[in-house]
């Protein structure tokens, strides 16, 4: 009796889900309309990358620990943005969504590389060229000092300080990190203390 009941409902669920899926597939297969939409989506995707590339790269430089290069991480982030682009519903701000993906990918990168000993996807269509405005030695040393000090922080604190340094308000940081604004404020107080204590002698 119970088996029959379960079977009946499983069949019904299957029917409904099939109906929904087929409707979705047929709706998506309308030739030119689909092509135009895809083209438009690609353009938006390109724009997202152009607008956010500096932000993503800054984060990647902090999280890239040898043998992972910042460029590898950057490409991995781009790949994940592309993968989840179709599921972006526009509920949050686009930069918030990009930050979330970048931080997730960067946070997982170390574990992923250790576990799979894998190489990242190398995309030839993304090129990294040394810029004409390359920072001088002094600036490079200062950056190294900052990077070293940030690396001393806990993982959760690292994410917060990276967003804070990008001039994001607590409200937005809270949305990205899934914490409350109060929690962020408290953490930032501690992070500022630690960071200043670590970096001040190095900058002098």
């Amino acid at each position: 009796m119970l088996q029959e009941f379960i079977n009946y409902y499983l069949n019904k669920i299957n029917e409904i889900s099939c109906h929904i899926l087929i409707t979705f597939v047929t709706n998506n297969n309308r030739g030119q309309k689909k092509y135009k939409m895809q083209n438009q989506e690609n353009l938006i995707f390109n724009q997202i990358l152009e607008d956010n590339k500096a932000r993503i790269y800054r984060i990647c430089r902090i999280y890239a620990v040898s043998p992972i290069e910042p460029q590898d991480l950057f490409q991995e982030v781009v790949f994940h943005i592309w993968k989840s682009y179709s599921t972006f519903k526009g509920k949050s701000n686009i930069s918030t969504w990009v930050y979330k993906i970048a931080l997730n990918v960067c946070n997982r990168s170390k574990m992923q590389f250790e576990r799979y000993n894998s190489k990242t996807t190398r995309l030839e269509s993304i090129q990294f060229v040394h810029s004409e405005t390359t920072p001088d030695k002094g600036e490079q040393l200062k950056y190294k000092a900052l990077r070293d000090c940030i690396s001393l922080l806990k993982e959760s604190e690292k994410s917060i300080v990276v967003l804070y340094l990008d001039d994001l308000p607590y409200k937005k940081i809270a949305v990205i990190t899934d914490l409350t604004e109060n929690h962020i404020a408290v953490k930032m107080k501690r992070i500022k203390k630690l960071l200043l204590k670590c970096i001040t002698p190095k900058l002098k």
Partner: protein, 97 residues
């Protein structure tokens, strides 16, 4: 540390941070990029999508036109009832814990 000094140090940190992406110029070849991204989807993902589509097609042939609106409504009503009961059950379970 004095507050003024703190502020200045923090300002310097922010400047260092802001300049950290200037060393490298990132350029995209967008015409290639989409193709490359599509191709870098793993074989496992491609196989999974293929097998799902085959399953969907098969089951659709079986049920095509056989499900009336009334049946769909009835099932969805039943499902909402079941999920409500399940939620009540979970709430009670939480309270006991």
């Amino acid at each position: 540390m004095l507050k003024q000094e703190e502020r200045e140090a923090w300002q310097e940190i922010k400047e260092i941070w802001g300049k950290s992406s200037q060393g490298e110029k990132i350029s995209f070849q967008f015409s290639k990029l989409i193709n490359e991204l599509n191709n870098s989807m793993s074989q496992w993902e491609k196989d999974a999508v293929k097998s799902d589509l085959i399953k969907v097609k098969k089951s659709w042939d079986k049920y095509k036109g056989n499900v009336s609106q009334w049946e769909k409504d009835a099932v969805s009503k039943d499902l909402t009832r079941i999920s409500k009961l399940f939620k009540i059950f979970l709430k009670k379970l939480k309270r006991k814990n």
